[in-house]
Point group: C2
Chain length 405, copies 2
Amino acid sequence: MNPQEEVERTLADIAARDAELGAFVAVSDAAQAQRECERALASGGALQGLPVGVKDIFDTAALPTSYGSPLFAGHQPRSDAAIVQAIRRAGGTVVGKTSTTEFAFLHPTPTHNPRAPGHTPGGSSAGSAAAVAAGLVPLAVGTQTGGSVIRPASYCGVVGFKPGYGALPTPGLKPFSWSLDTVGLFTAGVETMATCAQAISGRPWAQGLRGGTAPVFGVAWSYPWEAMSASGRQALERAVAALRAAGATVREVTLPPWLGGVFKAHDEVQGWEATRALADEYAFERDRLSPVLRDYLTQARGITDAAYSLALDAAAAGRDALGQLFDGIDVLLTPSAPDEPPQGYASTGSSSWNRAWTLLHVPCLGVPGTTGVNGLPMGVQVVAPLREEALCLKAGWVLEQALRA
Amino acid sequence: MNPQEEVERTLADIAARDAELGAFVAVSDAAQAQRECERALASGGALQGLPVGVKDIFDTAALPTSYGSPLFAGHQPRSDAAIVQAIRRAGGTVVGKTSTTEFAFLHPTPTHNPRAPGHTPGGSSAGSAAAVAAGLVPLAVGTQTGGSVIRPASYCGVVGFKPGYGALPTPGLKPFSWSLDTVGLFTAGVETMATCAQAISGRPWAQGLRGGTAPVFGVAWSYPWEAMSASGRQALERAVAALRAAGATVREVTLPPWLGGVFKAHDEVQGWEATRALADEYAFERDRLSPVLRDYLTQARGITDAAYSLALDAAAAGRDALGQLFDGIDVLLTPSAPDEPPQGYASTGSSSWNRAWTLLHVPCLGVPGTTGVNGLPMGVQVVAPLREEALCLKAGWVLEQALRA
C-alpha cells in the first residue's frame, strides 16, 4: 500500500470504528488528508506519509482545537503547534485530533479502552493511547504533566514514550504547568517508537537499538509514593523474570530518600503554575469548568510562592543527585501505573507512579506485554538518566523482546 | 498617585508620545485598562497595578497579536500567554503590546531609540526596550532567542534581564526556536527589576539584593566570537574600574575553549528549529516574509539532523562544564553588545555577545550606565551560573551602584 492509500484506509477505518471507540474528536476530510500526505512526502522525512493522531491539546490550523473543554468548542487556532510542524517535516501525515481530558487534567473523555472493554483508557492522552491500541493509527502524540502518557499506555497495552522535558517542542499546546508539560508519543511497539521519535526529534535515539551490550536494569520493590499493588508486583516480577531468562542483568536497588520529596514537590509546582495557566478560565468561566478542575484550582490558589520555589529547588536538587539513583545500573524498572485500568469511566486513574519522573525531566518508556491479576494490561516503565533517550529506548526494546520470548 | 491614576497617566503618555517613538503596536482603551488594573489589584500581587508593556510576540486575548508580521495583521488570539497571566497574578496591569521585529528575528520595526535618536533601538524586543527607556512604562516583557533582550537594553540604556531558560513561562509566544526562546524583562533600574522578576516568577530572586558580601566578578578581555570593539572595551573597563573603586573584587579570567563551540552551535539549533516553527509561513506565505527571514529559512533547511543533534550535545556538555567557567568567580562581566547602537534603522545589530549564554540557558542581566566611544549607550552584561538568578541580580545591583558613585 502506498502512503496515499494508507492515509485513505486510515480515514475509512476511523469512519467505520471510531464512533464506538471515541478516540478522535476531529478528523481531516479526504482531500485535506491527501494534501497533508503530499506535503509530508515532499519533505523527504523518514516517516514517509505515516498517519498520525495528535492530542487535541495542541493547536492545529486545519482542524478545530477544543483542549477537551466546552469553553473552546469550535475554536480554530491560526497556527499549528511546533510538534505538528516537526511531525510534518519528519514525513508524518496528521489525520485527526485525539480526545483529551479537559485541559489535560482529570475530567474523563468518552473514550473506550480497546484492550479492556468497560474500563478507562486512562488520561489525559486518552484518545491517542486508544487510537494506537485499536490500530487506527500507528503513531499518536500526547502530553504528560503528571502521568498522562505512561499511564494510558499501560491501561491500553501500548508503548508510551515521554522523552526528557523539552526534547520534543511544547509551543502551541494549551499549558497546564510549564515546568512539567512534556510532549510524548504512542506506538504499538518499541522499534516503531524509536524510529518515529528519532525522525521527529532529529536526535539519534534509534541508533544502537539492537546489538551491543544489554543495559543493566535496576528494580526497586518499595517506593515513596505508595505500596505496589498485586498487579504492579506481578507485572514487575514478570518483567524481571523475562529479562533474567533472556540473559540480562537485573539488580535490586533501594530508591534514595529524596525521591519522596520530589514526588510531593510535583503537587506544588503543578498547582502554582496551573492557577496562572488557567487564570482566565477560572476567573471568567468557572461554572463551565468540571468540578474536579474547579476544586483543584481553588485549592491550588493556596500554594504560596515560597512553597512553589522550594518545590522547584527540590526538583533541581533531585536532578543533580540522579547519579545516586542510577549508581550501578543503566535504567530503572517500575510499574507504569498503580494498577490495571479501573473499571468504568468515572476516573482516569492516578499518576502517582509517574509524577516524580515527570518533575525530574528524565526519559520514561512504558512497555506493554505484562498483565495484572485480572488479566488486564499492566505495563512496566523504563526510567533512564537525563538525556539518555537512546538508552531508554534500547532498554525498552530488550524488555519487549524478553517479554515476547 | 493611586494605581488607577497611574494606569490612566500611562495611557495618556502613550497617546501623547508614542506616535513619534513607535514602541507600541496596540494599546488598551481606558475602560479595558481599568478593568485589567482592578483585576490585578484584586490578585493581591506585589506589583499593585503597575503598568506593563508586553512584546507582541505573546498572545493576548484582549489585544490583537501580529508577531511583527503582516501575515498576522489583526490576528486575535483566544487566550493569554502564560506570562501575561503570571503578570496579572503578580499584580501587573498589561496596558499594551510593544513592537517586535518580524517573528522576533531581524527585520526591523519602525521603533525609535529614545536614548540615541537616529539609531536603532535593537531587536527583537525593540518596543519593550524603547518604551521603558522613554519612561512610558516601568516594566516591559521581551524574549531572547539570540540577544533580543540584552542587546536592545544595551542600545536603549535600560536594564534587561534574561533569567535562565524556562524560568519565566513561554507558552503562548510565537515560537522561533524552542530550545532557545526565553522570556525576559526590561526596567529602568536593577532594584525594580529584582522586585518585578521575583513577583512574576514566584522565586526569591530579590532576596539579598542589598547587604551581605559582594560577589566576586570575573572579567575576560578576549572572546571566541569576535574582537571587542573600542566601545565594548571602554564600557567594560569603566565597569571594572567602578567596581574596584567601590571595593569589589574583579578577577581577570580566560574563557574556556569550548565556549566558541557553543557559540557556533547556537546557529544550528536555531536554524533547525526555526524551519519547523515557521514551516507553514515558509510553505504558504513565503512572498510575504521579509527577505532576511526568507533567506535565513531557505539556508537553514540545509542543517541536518546530525548537525542539530551535535549542537544540542555541545550545549549540554557546556552546561555540564560551567563550573570551569565560574571557577574562582561568582559572575562574569562582558560587554552587552558588539558596540553602541548602529546608526539608522536598517539593522537591529548583532546578537554575537549573547548567543552562547542563551544556548547555555544561564541568567544574564544587562546593566546600563556606561557609554561607548561616541557617547551613546553601551551596556555591560552580568552572566551567572545556572539557577543563580538572585546572584545575577545582586551582582547587577552592585555594578549599578558602583557606576552611579
